[in-house]
Symmetry: D2
């Protein structure tokens, strides 16, 4: 249930009202200050609360509304239609994810293979405009006999890449037992598609502070995906970015997955959270990445994740979907063309830095 | 099997060689003149032909290659990598579909309901830049009790709309028995998603002259779709446009279908045929049409099909996915922004007209 | 809307009441005599009819109910919960399809290749207990270059097989133009999976007398399938058998399709029509046919369609999913074991014959 | 790579040979004694080993074969075609899962709600022939606001149910952090569908001793499922039972999932592991459970998992798919009818008990 306040409501009245609601009904009250409105959101056993009664608490209340969706905190209604933003501090300055900010590009290899390759790749993608380096330390692999990632030692190499470039780090956690170690290094913690329904993990990333990149499960419905995000917000962490990475359909012969770009308008209407598109996993083939990245920008994405590897033919994982740094340079130029005409491209790499 | 000729091969030699191959091997020989090369394609029992033997027929032969794909005439290889174009004469002049031409916009209502609405809609979409009016006379409907289209009388109304505007007409044929009547009016004959596997119909549209718009079946693989097109080309009609209109996946709650934009790079590499995207059926909701239309342009589509209805709330079919003419005007402006930066938008509405 | 009559309603009263309803409301009235009840079903513009008004027409009326499902005539409600049966006359006598009858087995090759093979196969499958020979004259094939069936001449060969064995014939129609020719020979006309959404064909098989076997489209929902059947009943033909033949899912590596046996209890609750299972197309591999045929019987199927070919390795189509006659003999024995314990197996091959 | 030994190979020779192979090539050698053959399976870097060289090690070697499948230890080839069995000690005696044993029935509620309900249910399902009680302590739920299971305290209630009945316990683990607690109580540890791709969890259940029930992911291919099992075997735990519980397809309106019974013949040919079918989750509706359970038996399942709740209408989770104990009694009788004719039903509840 949310309380929308009239313009000009005095700060003391907001505080008093929050307290009254909280104490009377035993719920948590969260304030969100939008461009147009201040909204108080009530969290807890709200079905038993009568909106009319709340209405009577203050003449400054404009409206009291129930959130109709089963996902509460992630729903757009919960913020009275206002988008949220996820701010990530990096050595190069704060990076903002959200529909009112320039598109954020995340790039890097599938797996962190060695220091030289990750540092080198970080430098190249930074030069092309990326704000984050991605790279897997723990890798979910179909076969137990395939390369499983270098684990904790790879986290150190990611830190070295950040040191060298000032880029933020996005890397995946696969096990609640590794969360502390990953959290010490990552600027954004990724929950992968195969773990979108790993509710234990969702609860634990919800109970820590680092922003979370939540990939869509390969056959997760939009509702299930938003419910997974709701686990994280319900745990106390409001900083979630949703990432579409292709769904499983009946045809995987050419594109390995079906990149579902319609999530952009669909999610935009349902949730206030920022949205990222991953055309590399989404198609599984590097030659399809450029058109799909451009399409994602035209359709309104807030961020992109692109796999880049210095030598895709020798990559320890996902080589066929990785671009070389040279091809990533060209992609960056092509993306900029679309990004500019939709007003979402920043010449200045960093928002918030000097 | 295709024969690539050296630059400068004399016309008489091409004729002579075609004849020799044709007479010796009992195959049909089709010549295609590309930007860089002249290619002779052999059609018939080619597996029994030895390429080396053909090679010996003329010193002007550069190479003899087998088409590896199961779809022969629609494959990109069949034209040695050159795109084809489909040229459609309309009262306003020729319209060209193909990757070397500006994007063609087709718009109009799901069903032709009456003369006034179809003529009015045609005028509005023409003003916004469309080259074709679409509208169903025969409608495939899930329920036998739903409106089935006005049938043959609606064809007359479409002709009136063409008369009034000079736009070309695209309309669907559902039954081989109606093909002659549809063919008399339509400038492009549509085979709908539900009939993509109606092989009798494919054979018959392949045996007539009007260009064919072939929609992808709702669960057709890329290979099956191209094979359906192959039926039409094998029947003798080379003028086929492929149209993606959304596939069926596990989640239809928000977007009714999943619009698979990755077909753009995939088909581009597999076939020489032009590609159209239909974001209206592809998403089923008018509010998703604009972002997906823009995405399709950014990803490289050759054409777009958009549903427009003067009063969507009262439409006899598919109202929820139809734009009003006013919203279509805005869409056209937004599409133009993307279309221009990718070099595929024509200020001049008509290519080939004065 | 249906009218349920009290037990013992005199025949004249039924006739009078039918006439009154029909004349007053301009609807068609169909009588169905079930085991327990006589039901009058009203067809036409029933939403405008007030049930209470009908109730007042006769003291013999027990109840007046609206059919809630979008599919009316095929719904179980339409017959007040009573199953229907499809009776097919064959030279060997009437064969009954329905949940109150023994399971009917249909067997034969994918395509009719020549007289000897079809007659020979018919004799073998008859000996093993089949009541119908199946065999394609017109074949839907993905590739235009694949064997397309022998067409009309194959119909004659099927007639010869019937002549030789007394078995009924089930064969597919693909084009409205061929319907008359197919109808002259077939005892049951098959509409294949690829044509389940060919509404023109559905209307035309609905307007003729031969019973229709309606296969489920490869990605048709249960509702769409029942709506396709509704087209046939709405056309005037009540004799429809529904056939599940496997749906398309994300995994076709081992079983080509996913045979959805849950349609048995689902359809049983939704419709009064008889149900057939085709484990040959449903799995695409002959080694999976036996377990799935037995499962279908255990789950309550009314009929089975099994592909049998004298020499699967040399079959012109679908060899990998065909059993040899010897293996079909063994299958028949294994099916009988399950069929007997569920009370649905007939030692006497023919119901209605001497 | 596997080494098949001739009949009558002396025990010392087997030991000597195992040692020689192991020491020469640095691989682990596992012996499996089948009904007909003794097989030595080599695990490790076998691609570099030359089979001919191994052949020369002993005249008792009949054949040396490479396992062709990507899944090695779970493949049927790995045991030279012999099925494996999983033996689970319970207070009532050993229970055997495998294709050469009677079908094992597992039953119980979705969640453990309180002591009375779980003990009562255990008594009822035992009386009807079940060998295991199932019940969730940790529940994977789509919504963070739904009942999440009573956690560790519910494990104690399961132990009480075992105490009262002698049944074995199957319960799910969702987090590596809970594995020790679950392992102390469970006789078989379940990895749920949503965690089939949780590789960290697979590795950890592979590194402990309790047998594992591995449910198929809702959109997992057969290959991915077997690879997930391979993780467990590769971790050192050979006792895995595979459980099909319905896959996600395009139609979930009536049956919530599509129960894929074709996995029975498919898995039988690919793996030696025992197979269980769960028609309760597989269809999501209690009225569909009986026909699908019977079908599973006819198709050859080794085990069944059925949800039973004393009061489904008040269940804290999955009520609609739960049978009452009374209905379970009837189901057990119907299953027995099919089970007996396929020779897989045991009057004597327990194999291995007095």
């Amino acid at each position: 249930m949310i309380v929308i306040l009239k313009n000009g409501t005095p700060q003391e009245e907001i505080t008093r009202l929050s307290q009254e609601i909280s104490e009377t009904w035993g719920v948590k009250v969260e304030k969100s200050v939008g461009k147009h409105k201040v909204v108080l959101a009530m969290i807890g056993d709200t079905p038993s609360i009568n909106p009319l009664q709340i209405k009577g608490y203050s003449p400054w209340i404009e409206e009291v509304l129930r959130v109709q969706q089963p996902f509460k905190r992630v729903s757009r209604e919960f913020r009275y239609g206002e988008a949220s933003e996820v701010v990530v501090p990096t050595p190069n300055g704060n990076v903002y994810f959200g529909e009112n900010h320039p598109i954020v590009v995340v790039a890097g290899p599938c797996s962190v293979e060695n220091e030289q390759m990750i540092v080198e790749t970080a430098k190249r993608v930074k030069a092309a405009g990326a704000k984050f380096i991605r790279g897997g330390a723990y890798k979910p692999r179909t076969s137990p006999y395939a390369f499983q990632g270098h684990g904790e030692s790879a986290l150190g190499l990611l830190a070295a890449a950040r040191e060298a470039t000032g880029l933020g780090i996005i890397t995946e956690v696969m096990d609640t037992a590794d969360l502390a170690a990953v959290g010490r290094v990552a600027d954004v913690i990724q929950v992968g598609a195969r773990n979108m329904h790993n509710f234990s993990l969702l609860k634990k990333v919800g109970a820590q502070d680092k922003p979370v990149l939540l990939k869509r499960g390969m056959s997760a419905t939009i509702d299930e995906w938003l419910m997974a995000a709701e686990y994280i917000l319900a745990g106390g962490n409001p900083n979630v970015i949703l990432c579409e990475r292709g769904i499983r359909t009946f045809d995987g012969k050419y594109a390995r997955n079906t990149l579902d770009l319609s999530v952009l308008p669909v999610l935009r209407s349902l949730t206030h959270l920022p949205i990222m598109i991953d055309p590399s996993h989404g198609t599984g083939r590097s030659e399809y990445v450029t058109p799909m990245a451009k399409a994602a920008i035209a359709a309104g994405t807030d961020a992109l994740m692109i796999e880049v590897h210095p030598n895709p033919a020798k990559a320890l994982s996902d080589g066929p979907q990785s671009l070389t740094p040279d091809k990533f340079d060209i992609l960056a130029q092509e993306m900029a063309v679309i990004g500019k005409v939709v007003g979402r491209w920043s010449e200045r790499a960093l928002v918030g830095s000097i």
